[in-house]
């Protein structure tokens, strides 16, 4: 015969009391574990939501960067083409050219050697691009007996700058015998492609008709430079060199001037500053807008993240606060109930305790008898409560629906420790709750019981 035998026989005899005690321990431990699992589930959910949000924001910013870069490239290309339509960035003119005559009447009367453009092209000058040597004169052209006053431009196309990589040509050369005409010329003379246009007595075939630009280009015709020089009696001479896309922004104009003047003495430079600045400003503004858009996107993303985080923290705090009140209350209630059940058990077993003491069991053995029962209720209630609490937490913490695995929850050491320690905690909890009744049983005076 042993204490263990007594314990198990008593449990079989008083099943209801035992089951109710286990139930109380189960509820207490289940409540604690469930609450912790719920809170942990909240944390994992927060981590996932914030990670997803962060990825979303990063993707949006990356997308924005891509859009801005593409838009920037498109804008640059647009500006480049627009600058071609608008005219030239700088004009290199002979020194004796009256600029006011050019500005007022569009006339270029002074000349300089065509070799200047080659000199410039072969130099190491870095500030100019796309060199275009040109002769310019206002002449009458004729088609079908109708005459029209136009600006004749003789051009040989772009002269490649030797010290640079080959750039995309902005303006192609006009083949000898062909003419490119502006839209107004076409309109006035009723020209169409392949028609013949007579310029200074020589016939040219219309190769290209330009679209209207609303500028002097609409009343301009372009022919091969050599032919133009011959027609105008200006062999090996030119009126101007157009330099396109000079990068002539702000103070750099002075640098261009200095560079070109050093190479080509006896020339002057007229810059179309407003256009350059417009382009530069446009670029700068586009860049600023892009930077601002990116910053706004990032700020908006960060604000969204911050708001999400704050909302989640609020939810977590609220849940933790609720659990902080409810769990101790439930545990206290369970402890009182366990104590009540243990007290009832002691009361019911008074006679038994009395006789066991009378036949020689010590108070320690009586205490062991009751605490062994407590140990069993604690272990069973602890394990069952822990499992039910985990299940509850997983089910109601939306962990399953969100795909949060148990292993994710257990990444947190506290929950793992709680689950490992749950049966021990349950035993301690149960022992504390039933300690007083057990002590009462152990200290019970057998003489008093046996006299009743």
């Amino acid at each position: 015969m042993s204490i263990t035998r007594l314990v198990f026989n008593e449990i079989r005899h008083r099943k209801l009391n035992f089951v109710l005690t286990i139930l109380s321990v189960t509820i207490a431990v289940g409540c604690l574990t469930g609450a912790q699992t719920l809170l942990r589930s909240d944390e994992v959910q927060t981590d996932d939501i914030l990670a997803a949000k962060k990825t979303e924001v990063e993707a949006a910013v990356a997308e924005r960067v891509k859009t801005v870069e593409e838009a920037g490239k498109a804008h640059q290309d647009f500006v480049r083409k627009e600058m071609l339509k608008l005219g030239f960035n700088i004009l290199i003119l002979p020194e004796e050219q009256d600029v006011s005559e050019l500005l007022l009447h569009g006339r270029l009367t002074a000349t300089m050697p065509e070799s200047y453009v080659d000199k410039l092209a072969q130099s190491s000058v870095m500030t100019v691009n796309h060199l275009l040597p040109t002769v310019v004169k206002r002449v009458d052209v004729e088609h079908g007996g109708t005459k029209f006053d136009v600006v004749l431009q003789g051009t040989r196309g772009e002269v490649p700058i030797l010290n640079r990589g080959q750039k995309k040509m902005l303006l192609a050369a006009v083949p000898p015998g062909s003419v490119v005409i502006g839209s107004e010329v076409q309109k006035k003379l009723g020209l169409k492609k392949a028609d013949t246009l007579t310029i200074l007595g020589e016939d040219f075939t219309v190769a290209t008709i330009n679209k209207p630009t609303g500028s002097i280009d609409d009343v301009t015709v372009w022919i091969d430079l050599k032919q133009a020089q011959k027609l105008l009696g200006m062999e090996n001479l030119i009126n101007t060199i157009f330099a396109l896309e000079c990068g002539c922004v702000g103070d750099r104009l002075a640098q261009i001037r200095a560079e070109v003047s050093a190479l080509l003495p006896g020339t002057q430079i007229v810059e179309e500053e407003a256009k350059a600045l417009t382009r530069a400003e446009s670029r700068a503004k586009a860049e600023e807008a892009a930077i601002q858009a990116l910053a706004d996107e990032k700020a908006a993303g960060e604000a969204t993240l911050r708001r999400t985080e704050e909302t989640r923290i609020d939810i977590e705090d609220r849940n933790a606060g609720l659990a902080g009140v409810l769990v101790p209350l439930v545990m206290l209630g369970c402890a009182l109930w366990i104590g009540f059940l243990a007290f009832g058990n002691v009361r019911e077993r008074q006679s038994e305790i009395g006789i066991l003491r009378a036949i020689g069991l010590s108070s320690k053995q009586i205490l062991t008898l009751f605490l062994s029962r407590t140990l069993l209720t604690g272990i069973v209630g602890g394990v069952v409560g822990c499992l039910l609490g985990l299940q509850f937490g997983l089910q109601f913490g939306a962990a399953e629906s969100l795909g949060i695995t148990v292993s994710r929850l257990f990444e947190d050491g506290d929950l793992k420790l709680l689950v490992i320690l749950a049966p021990i905690l349950a035993v301690v909890f149960s022992a504390i709750a039933s300690w007083l009744p057990a002590m009462m049983a152990a200290k019970q005076d057998p003489a008093v019981v046996l006299q009743e």
Partner: protein, 231 residues
Amino acid sequence: MTEILDLQKVCKTYRGRSGEVRAVDGVSLSLDAGEFVAVRGPSGCGKSTLLLLSGGLLAPDSGDVTVAGEEPYLMSTDARSRFRAANIGFVFQQFHLVPYLSVLENVLAPSIANKTAAADETLTRARSLVVHFGLEDRIDHVPGELSSGERQRTALARALLNQPKLLLADEPTGNLDEENAELVLTHLGEFAASGGAVLLVTHDASAAARASRTVFLDSGKVVTDDAATAS
């Protein structure tokens, strides 16, 4: 003869809200081995208190209690428990059986406290006691399934498991019919005859008549202590 129980000028007073009650007042009593002593007296005369004092369950206010040559009240609580398990057997009117243990397990219960004998030996002795008291058909029954006589015989078998020197019986026949009462008294007599000492507390004259000696108590004092011939 070996003296088993010796009470010398033992006093016990209960103190309650309604005042003091002197339950035992200077009682001196000795029991030798083989003696069967009945203590009689009116209700409240201190019979049961005297039995508890003798059994090491209730410390006297004054006087000396010696059981089997030792003074249990000079021992620690745990040592006294062990001493009680080894030397004293109890039988009560209310049986005080453990309700969730079978007859055999109830008989074996004192072995939890007294581990001097091997488990097999104890089990054999318990079974022989069960047979001796005619309970072999009820060996696996719990007290709730037994008659009063069977319960008391189970209690008696339990009291004898550890082969005590002193058997204390408090109104053991109080809840029994004549036949079972006779049976129990016979067993008590047998125990005394085998060398043990029996102190039987009873107000039943016929039960007391089975004792070798009867002590009359009144208001906690021994009124008479006469030797009688066992029937």
